[in-house]
């Protein structure tokens, strides 16, 4: 892995200078920069903020949106909200997982895809829903999954 650009980390920390209760916001900002939170970043944060590493880990591991492991180039999220569930979300998830040959919450060995379950994206009208990066797909069928994956592999 490339070395983490700690200057960038400092720059993001500066945004929150002098404010209280910013750790979660800080982690979210760092993640949009690095896509995940590497160990070096946590160590650096710990030094700069004078917060124990364990405390940062506790918070980072509690929240689902924060990735502590590298993620693939494409993040696929399958909505498992109730409305999607009753319209067959489980099938969509199983099928996607079997096509990528990974389990939910895993990343393909070539780092091209990560697959994740998400509890409701709020597009309940067009379930089943999945997102690829920032793109939303509604009324997903198994054929659609096939097409979506093919387009990006």
């Amino acid at each position: 892995m490339d070395a983490v650009d700690l200057e960038k980390v400092d720059e993001i920390i500066e945004r929150y200078r002098g404010r209280e209760g910013v750790l979660i916001q800080l982690l979210l900002d760092l993640q949009s920069e690095f896509h995940w939170i590497p160990r070096e970043v946590i160590d650096h944060l710990s030094e700069r903020l004078r917060v124990p590493t364990s405390q940062i880990y506790r918070i980072a591991s509690f929240y689902k949106a924060i990735n502590l492991n590298p993620v693939g180039r494409h993040m696929i999220q399958v909505c498992m909200g109730t409305a999607c569930q009753v319209r067959g979300a489980q099938k969509v998830l199983d099928f996607t997982a079997s096509r990528l040959n990974i389990k939910p919450e895993e990343t393909t060995p070539d780092l091209s895809f990560s697959l994740r379950k998400v509890n409701c994206l709020g597009c309940c009208s067009m379930g089943p829903v999945l997102t690829v990066d920032d793109e939303y797909h509604g009324g997903v069928t198994l054929e659609k999954v096939e097409k979506i994956l093919k387009k990006r592999s």
Partner: protein, 655 residues
Amino acid sequence: MMPKLASFRDLEEMREKLRSRRDPSESEMPLITVCAGTGCLALGARKVIDAFREELDERGLATKITLKETGCPGFCEKGPIVVIYPEGIHYVKVNPTDVPEILEETVLNNRLIDRLLYSDPATGARAVHEEEIPFYKHQTRILINNNIKIDPKNIADYIVQGGYSALALALSRMTPQEVIDEVKRSDLRGRGGGGFPTGLKWEAAKRALGTPKYVIVNCDEGDPGAFMDRALMEGNPHSVLEGLVIGAYAVGSEKGFIYVRAEYPLAVQNAKIAIEQARECGLLGEDILGSGFDFDVELHRGAGAFVSGESTALMNALEGKVGEPKPKYVHTSERGLWNRPSLLNNVETWANIPLIINRGAHWFSSIGTERSKGTKIFSLVGKVNNTGLVEVPMGMTLREIIYDIGGGIPGGKKVKGVQTGGPSGGIIPEEHLDTPVDFDRLTSLGSMMGSGSIIVLDEDTCAVDLARYFVDFLCDESCGKCVPCREGLRQMRDILSEIVAGRGEAEDLKTLKEVAGVMKSASLCALGRTAANPVLSTIRHFEEEYVAHIQDQRCPALVCEQLISYFIRPDICIACGLCRENCPQGAISEEESAEETGKVVMAIDQSKCSRCGICFHVCPSKVKAVVRISGKSSAPPVPSASISSGDKEKDSKTR
């Protein structure tokens, strides 16, 4: 860029100016609005918007015709939605390829395009305007009616529609106590789920000692199946913000927070823009509208934790800590965020405030039932024809909502029940559909209002599997801090997993009820106290399904994977091979039909079949040769007589 409004008069003058600048255009300059809510975007609205923009540029019409990206009007089923003003022509399911025709025919030549109009599935009648469409016709839209008229990224649009007049009224003519009295008189109850009287909460926060005080918008809408808060925050963020500023004035707070969950990126974006624009206009900050009242707001993004929607957990998250609940020995209105008095309300509750101040408590309480006033936005989803957001007066019956507004169940199937209140709610069976929906009636049926999701279930939904789904969901989301919730959920999940696998035991139902009882009385927060509701309500209303799973190893809805077998009917199969191609197990092969010599059919090797159901879904809808059967009698090889107890019987009713 809007100028800073330094007084009440500035606001009114600005409104007049904006209106007069727009008014003549109402008759001359056409306006095209395209819904840019997350739902329509998922269906391709971005491409439609881009196509309009390109086409307008190409024809040199960009200065003569206004194009507006608006919030979500709720009819997500038919998106992307395009409405053309001044006539208000309502087009549904618009494709980018329809755009040149819409411009040429409808916008420039005032001719309708029939195929883009909503057509009633029953009568085939076309509806031109929103108010003719049954989905809208039966609603009372006072909260989401403006979504389709407003560009949420432009504060001027909200001001034109009368925005911030309630704030001006409160600041100029009412004392904080009078604001609270008005809210109390309106009988507004919290829309986040609990239904606690809003006015009382405000009063407690006002009386509480200590400064500073905080006001908080809870937009951590985690209830799976509910998305009204998303639609309001994305589509009309200023209505929420205006409510918040009024609340801050009433309880004496100078600092507010808007907490938006991570899964709603567009809501985060629009809330951020709204805060910035309001600040620019002097509607936030120091000396708001020259009244001497100071107040500002900070946006806080969630990071993906269902339990953080609980009020004390949300306050922990705002402090940058782990979003776990705390015991409420002292109310958060006295000691909340950073141990200071804090007033937290849900998005929809805040959005009601400007309406109550503007039109009065009396008007508000004239809508609804005796103990539940006003309207409620429901998300009508699942197995229903018209899915979307539905705003109705409290007290409308579930049947009216599902049939008159929702247009009934697809495929002519029967309603099995509805799930309300999300994972904390329960299932209400078909025979109770005539119940008027309000806070107290739903609770008396063993469910709850929750944030307002109505998930319609048809006969293809298995009650046991659904209960297991919710327990699974909550296992995932329980923070694990208190034992009854953490361990209770795990035990329930184990028991339910055994039942859906056909390994249930006779005393399981008793054990489930026992565990539920402990969780209800001993859990720390509402998540744990209500977590057993989906299990209890399904046992209460669908006990026979549990019994079928436990005693006969049969899933009556043909859902539970381990209790069903897939079988290809040789008399129907056309041997197209689609199932064989898609079978991940390689369990399907070509065989000669035993019933008809020389006929080649597909057959499933039951020993290899993993019951993934892909063959069932890929079999062409005209053929439908793959059937599911369930029960002890279906052990392989499948005797053809047993088919009649499975899909065949069900199919004859539905096809």
